[in-house]
């Protein structure tokens, strides 16, 4: 156990944000793989962004076997498991939108190339394309210390987690230095490097928001001098 709390002398508190999505239909649906390929070539970036990243805000009861809508649709509706696996591995946070679009198009085109019949779905299982627009809220919450952040985690809304992790990765990823807001702030205030590294290393892509919260709580519990702070907060 180390002494992360004593080392942190924050100059700026962590500003807690929340968010909300305005979801918009685009009036376009895919019922087979060729439809999806055509759509991926033409739809606005906001549609790709929604189905590859912001879908994490939608509630899925199943574990995040596939972390984006496209992979999930190929698995569930088209029954194309190989392609679903490939799409599931595409990391949308590591490259600009144009590159991401190119990767997706390439994967699907390659898949179609080798097939005699185009995979299709039953009526009712179509992929209805949508885009979204983010509305960020400054909650007014300011967390001055590492302990305060740790204490806030169990009660933080899942949308706040999304904003500070998924959206933060998207924002920072465009600059080539992908990071969540928590680890960026911890680094800035001089927190224990092992804690920063652990938070940053959480593979959020395969976690739903509640699982993600638990991962962070576990990380803080290991690195806080007084982990009972967290126990009290979760009680």
């Amino acid at each position: 156990m180390n002494d992360g709390e004593k080392q942190t002398v924050p100059t700026e508190p962590f500003a807690l944000f929340d968010c909300s999505l305005a979801r918009l239909a685009i009036g376009r649906s895919c019922s087979n793989l060729r439809d999806l390929l055509d759509a991926l070539r033409n739809v606005p970036d906001t549609v790709l962004e929604h189905h590859m990243m912001r879908c994490a805000l939608d509630d899925h009861f199943e574990l995040y076997e596939f972390p984006n809508d496209l992979a999930r649709w190929c698995w569930d509706a088209l029954g194309d498991r190989g392609l679903a696996e490939q799409l599931g591995l595409v990391d949308p946070y590591q490259q600009p939108m144009a590159t991401l679009r190119g990767m997706l198009v390439n994967l699907i085109e390659d898949r179609l190339w080798g097939l005699e019949r185009v995979p299709w779905c039953r009526p009712g299982l179509e992929l209805h394309l949508a885009s979204s627009r983010m509305m960020a809220f400054d909650t007014g919450g300011r967390l001055p210390t590492l302990a305060a952040l740790a204490q806030a985690l169990p009660r933080m809304s899942s949308r706040s987690l999304f904003y500070h992790v998924h959206e933060a990765r998207r924002r920072s990823g465009a600059n080539g230095a992908s990071s969540d807001d928590f680890s960026a702030w911890l680094e800035k205030i001089g927190a224990e490097p092992a804690l920063v590294a652990r938070i940053r290393a959480v593979d959020f892509y395969f976690l739903n928001l509640n699982q993600l919260r638990q991962e962070f709580i576990d990380a803080f519990r290991l690195h806080l001098t007084e982990p009972q702070v967290l126990l009290k907060a979760t009680a």
């Binding site: 929340d18 909300s20 305005a22 979801r23 918009l24 239909a25 685009i26 009036g27 376009r28 649906s29 509630d59 009861f61 009712g124 179509e126 209805h128 394309l129 949508a130 627009r133 983010m134 509305m135 960020a136 809220f137 400054d138 909650t139 007014g140 809304s157």
Partner: protein, 430 residues
């Protein structure tokens, strides 16, 4: 009437008891948490004083009216100036709009040119009669859809069409007629992406929601629940399955009866209640009710309740008494009765269509079915496994709290309004 069970924390009860004014939003805060209400206040602060008008076709009966009953006062409390206007029409008008409704949901219908003319003309009359002066007017469903066409320019800042109906595969003639009204709108709202059709304005996705504090959904005393059962001749000691909905073919009440009959030999004590009520804009209800009563026959365990539109507490009691709630629709805009049942901790067996698919998730909150046989199979399954019923009930309650309570719905409306005012990139609300 017995008093409602007061589930509020002691501090709040004490404040209310002392006569301290408790705002509506404070009461919802106890259910959804302070941050959710804070978000609403933050959004509304950017819209302070905006004049909002909602227009629909009935004040009583149906999901739209139920939503507007809570939405208007909440918008008011948040500092917007909100009003509710209702169009008027003759029985022939409602026959035509019911045909529109059926046609939008894909039923074959026959309409003459004079029917479209009548709809157009009644919209014109209502545009003259109604007070529509506002910054934003939300027009609900197809009945009043042509109001913008007949309203003088400048009287309304922005028009938004809120479509509660599944119009993914509409009748062509109906859609062609309604589509011509859309260029007067600056935005549309649909309950889910599958319902939207390509339109020349933004199409927001806004699922509806329930009011957890309304008579339909609040906690009720056990004595009141039992009294409701006694009043309707339902045995509280035997298993009850229930469908609450208008007597409408899309709700498939005959399919529910068929499912019940398939299960009855395995559970002789099983009771079925089909509870519905009339709505002033639904002229087909009486005809469907007759068909249902014919099919029900003389079975003493199958009760058909035609309840007045204000029977919210009775429906509440019935939903709380059921072991399983059905909504075996074959077309469904959203299905607020599903939300109500989930909120009361009941597993739901729902037709795999429309908004029901947003709410019912196999093995989590209930089961989606495609036939009376499918419904019967799942009823038998759930009657067999009490532990699974309870688990689904718990999950369903939390699922509704997260996604389908009025605060989320109101947030979506406020978000839409803000979006319309700031049609650029992302918005930061301080």
């Amino acid at each position: 009437m017995m008093p409602t069970l007061d589930a509020r924390p002691a501090k709040r009860r004490k404040r209310a008891h002392k006569g301290i004014h408790m705002k509506l939003l404070d009461r919802y805060e106890e259910i959804v948490g302070p941050s959710e209400v804070q978000r609403l206040r933050q959004l509304a602060a950017r819209l302070h004083g905006k004049r909002i008008v909602h227009v629909n076709s009935t004040r009583l009966g149906g999901g739209v009216a139920e939503i507007l009953v809570w939405m208007i006062p909440l918008m008011e409390e948040l500092g917007l100036s909100a009003r509710w206007e209702v169009i008027e029409g003759n029985p022939d008008f409602y026959r035509v709009t019911k045909a529109f409704h059926n046609g939008l949901q894909g039923l074959p219908i026959l309409l003459r040119n004079t029917d479209f003319d009548l709809h157009y003309q009644i919209n014109q009359e209502n545009a003259k009669r109604l007070n529509l002066e506002a910054d934003v007017v939300f027009v609900h469903d197809p009945q009043p859809i042509y109001l913008p066409h007949f309203t003088p320019k400048g009287r309304v800042g922005r028009w938004v069409w809120r479509c509660h109906i599944d119009c993914s595969r509409p009748n062509r003639s109906v859609w062609k007629y309604l589509e011509k009204a859309i260029p007067d709108y600056q935005a549309t709202l649909f309950s889910m992406a599958a319902f939207a059709r390509p339109l020349p304005c933004p199409m927001f996705l806004v699922p509806p929601a329930i009011d957890p504090l309304s008579d339909k959904n609040c906690a009720i005393p056990e004595e009141e629940r039992l009294e409701t059962l006694r009043k309707h001749g339902i045995d509280p000691d035997r298993p009850l399955i229930l469908q609450v909905s208008r007597f409408d073919r899309f709700k498939d009440p005959l399919g529910v009866i068929a499912a019940y009959r398939l299960v009855k030999p395995y559970h002789p004590g099983l009771q079925l209640v089909l509870a519905g009520g009339p709505a002033s804009d639904d002229p087909e209800g009486a005809e469907v009710l007759r068909e249902v009563m014919d099919r029900a026959g003389e079975d003493p365990d199958l009760r058909i309740l035609l309840l007045p539109p204000d029977s919210h507490r009775a429906i509440n009691a019935l939903q709380r008494s059921a072991l399983i709630v059905l909504q075996k629709s074959v077309k469904e805009g959203f299905g607020l009765t599903v939300t109500e049942a989930l909120w009361k901790g009941k597993p739901v067996i729902g037709g795999a269509c429309g908004g029901i698919t947003l709410q019912v998730h196999d093995y989590h909150t209930g089961f989606l079915v495609h036939s009376p046989e499918g419904a019967a199979y799942r009823i038998r399954y759930l009657l067999r496994y009490a532990d699974k019923r309870q688990r689904m009930g718990r999950i369903g309650h939390e699922f509704v709290r997260e996604h389908f309570l009025l605060t989320r719905n109101l947030r979506d409306y406020l978000t839409t309004l803000l979006y319309l005012e700031n049609p650029g990139e992302g918005i930061l609300v301080a």
